[in-house]
Amino acid sequence: MLGYISRRAYHSIISLIGLLTLVFFLTRLTGDPSALYLPLDSSLEARAAFARLNGLDQPIHVQFLQYLQNLLSLDFGQSLRQNRSAIEVALEAFPATLKLAVVAMTLATALAILVGALAAARPRSLFDRIAGLVSLAGASMPDFWIAIVGILVFAVGFGLLPTSGTGTGLHWIMPIAVLMLRPFGLLVQVVRGTMISALASPYIKTAQAKGMKRRKIIFGHALRNSLLPVITVAGDLATGLINGAVVVETIFGWPGIGKLMIDSIIQRDFAVVQSTILVTAVAIFIVNIAIDVLYVTLDPRIRY
């Protein structure tokens, strides 16, 4: 298992280098930062000085080699906007996103497993039909629209919830609800499908022949076997959330890494863009390893 993880880490480093290279050149396509950071009427000398100070006067391949060299000494560059270490800025914003993602994913998965399992236990029942409708709506409605409607109804209309920002527990409700919607909808469908085929498996007959309680058969035998595909999809959705719930963070003014990424791109804060990508890529790698470990613990037939 440890050998497997180190092998995976090794492969991840290769793709990480490729990713950072791509991001390095793409960010530089957005334009010259000095156009944003200096007053409109600054002189050519001032612009040249700004470029020199931030190493932007060098040819692009020299800048890139310099970047790689700095990476080796764990120097991730300076934020132009905040004038401090870019990685610090990224790591500061990350916990807010992580908290949001963990809470939303945990709630969505738990709820989806419960709803999906109950729907599968009685296919075509009223509960199943309602669950199908709600989950389909959840999976297909665009989050920015739901977020805006939510603000309109609960914040502006009833005045129950704050429109945006952080601070109180109330601030969490809308971002989490909106973030949950899509994972919940998709996962209900996955759980229902895999549960229906698990419940048709021969070992369920054995459990019935043993005289086990139906609740135990559903949650003990069938659910355990249908979790693998659920975890695959849930993991995929979780990486999507970690990656910065850009839309939700922007709408609700949530100071997470997604919002930071967008702001930095707009402001041509290259070092910060690169650092946010690095942080989320590492987080996604960890999530994937966690999924693999879960696979092994859930299914004794899987060994790496």
Binding site: Q208, A209, K210, N225, P300
Partner: protein, 550 residues
């Protein structure tokens, strides 16, 4: 054993429908039978005869809907099982009535240890929890013959062999000493030698506990070996019932008679005049081997598994060579290598003088049309989206020179009639045929390229007994009419006796014995061949021992 005369279970006039797309299909039609403590009742029937449905209703394992008990009663110890609610039913299942199934791997939950799954029986009926019954579970596993039970109680189902998994299922079923054990085709998926061990275990347990055993099977030998009484089912109805020996020796119903004529110890089978004069050597296999490397990691030493180990044999023109062995003995690997579906490790094979194992490109292609294969699974080996016409004519699309297109229609009809199907079958799809008919289509497809040699890999193993005899008859007929040669791979000894001229017996990749069919059956030389022949169950009324001992 002593069988009491008061039935513990009495089923009367049971009728079960299945609702499918509006029209109810009658699966079980007015079936009545009973079973007494200590007695073994065998329900004999082919697939679709309703035998599993009738016992499924006893355990409440038939989903309603689509299943529907239209009429009848199932009286167990004074209560009607068909009127029980879910909870009352649950109290009986596993405690007083238990069941084992055909495919133990699928019927065990892959993600839990076998120990836990057995312990669940105790837990479900309030006799302790998973932790506290561990010692009892180990004892149960020891009783059913799992070696090293104290350790293997924590193993998962996939870590056991097929026979051991069925032993685990049996341990689970007898955990609370039920009064009735229903065994639904318990040995069908197992090798003959393992089959006899499992049957012996069931008989022993019955003697110890005095439980009633209801055994469902399609296998005449198994039925004869186990039954005190037999009921024969066909098309959802009981067509015959009575004492085992009577049913076997004096069948009354026409269906039973037809069935029993297939039994190796039933009516005498007409001996086929064997071709004593051998034609020219068609296929010569020399020192064929296939090795697999296992566990080759950078830090683990390489291990070699010899699936086929230095096998040599010859097939003559018009001859049928049977290859017999248990699963994993390497017989299918030989077939796959001869058809060039797998690459051999070493060895040579000459087909009409040409080394076929080194052929490539066009030469390989033209060799392929001369050797054809009929596979075990007539459901999986045909493309479900192609109709029979396309399936049969596909070789002509590949080998352009066999037949000009204008003659395809006539030839397809000819081939269909040759294998006993009708011209109008050409435009149907595989799912519209029964298993036996599909195997006929597979044979017609094999014949389409006008081969010299047909390799049948367990070609009749998936079929019902009476269908098996029909297909064997067809193959024999084609051999005589077209001068075909066969390599007939099977694990089923009685079948090759009917059909093969010569038999190779394989064990762990090696040929341990090769001789003419009659000689092999009458005077087997190798110990393994003897044990294979001994494993064929013998009728219960012939004595106490379950299997023949020479």
């Amino acid at each position: 054993m002593t069988a009491s005369d008061n039935p513990i279970l009495t089923i009367e006039n049971l009728t079960v429908d299945f609702l499918s797309e509006g029209d109810p299909v009658r699966a079980v039609d007015n079936v009545s039978f009973n079973v007494c403590p200590g007695e073994t009742l065998v329900i004999l029937g082919e697939s679709g005869s309703g035998k599993s449905v009738s016992t499924g209703t006893v355990m409440g394992l038939i989903d309603c809907p689509p299943g529907d008990i239209v009429a009848g009663s199932l009286i167990f110890d004074g209560t009607d099982l068909s009127r029980l609610d879910e909870n009352a039913r649950r109290m009986l299942n596993g405690r007083r009535i238990a069941m084992i199934f055909q495919d133990p791997l699928a019927h065990l939950n892959p993600v839990y240890t076998v120990g836990r799954q057995i312990a669940e029986v105790f837990e479900a009926h309030g006799n302790g929890d998973v932790g506290s019954v561990r010692d009892t579970v180990v004892k149960l596993l020891e009783r059913v013959g799992i070696p090293d039970a104290a350790k293997r109680v924590d193993y998962y189902p996939h870590q056991f062999s097929g026979g051991q998994r069925q032993r685990v299922m049996i341990a689970m079923a007898i955990a609370l000493k039920p009064e009735i054990l229903i065994a639904d085709e318990p040995t069908t998926a197992l090798d003959v030698s393992v089959q006899s061990q499992i049957l012996e275990l069931l008989s022993d347990l019955q003697r110890e506990t005095g439980m009633a055993l209801i055994m469902i099977t399609h296998d005449l030998e198994v039925a004869a070996a186990m039954a005190d009484r037999i009921i024969v089912m066909n098309g959802g109805k009981v067509v015959e019932s009575g004492k085992a020996q009577d049913v076997f020796t004096n069948p009354v119903h026409a269906y039973t008679r037809r069935l029993m004529s297939a039994a190796p110890f039933g009516g005498a089978c007409p001996e086929r005049p064997r071709t004593k004069v051998r034609g020219e050597a068609l296929l010569q296999v020399q020192h064929l081997s296939k090795h697999y490397v296992l566990g080759a990691g950078p830090f683990s030493p390489k291990k070699e598994f010899r699936a086929v180990d230095d096998v040599s044999f010859t097939v003559h023109q018009g001859e049928t060579v049977g290859i017999v062995g248990e699963s994993g003995s390497g017989k299918s690997s030989i077939a796959r290598m001869l058809l060039r579906l797998d690459q051999p490790t070493t060895g040579q094979a000459f087909f009409a003088g040409e080394d076929i194992l080194t052929l490539e490109g066009r030469a390989l292609n033209s060799f392929r049309r001369r050797v054809q294969m009929v596979f075990q699974d007539p459901f999986g080996s045909m493309n479900p989206r192609m109709n029979v016409y396309s399936i049969i004519s596909e070789p002509w699309v590949i080998h352009r020179d066999i037949l000009p297109r204008p003659r395809w229609d006539d030839r397809v009809v000819e081939l269909l009639e040759l294998v006993g199907l009708k011209a109008e079958h050409a435009h149907r799809h595989p799912h519209q045929f029964s298993g036996g008919q599909r195997q006929r289509v597979a044979i017609a497809r094999a014949l389409a390229s006008e081969p010299d040699l047909i390799v049948c890999d367990e070609a009749v193993s998936a079929l019902d007994v009476s269908i098996q005899m029909q297909i064997i008859g067809l193959l024999a007929d084609l051999r005589d009419r077209l001068g075909l040669s066969y390599i007939f791979i099977t694990h089923d000894l009685p079948i090759v006796r009917e059909f093969a001229d010569r038999i190779l017996v394989m064990q762990q990749g090696k040929v341990v014995e090769e001789s003419d069919t009659e000689m092999l059956f009458n005077s087997p030389k190798h110990a393994y061949t003897k044990s294979l022949l001994d494993s064929v169950p013998r009728p219960k009324w012939h004595g106490n021992s379950l299997t023949r001992h020479l």
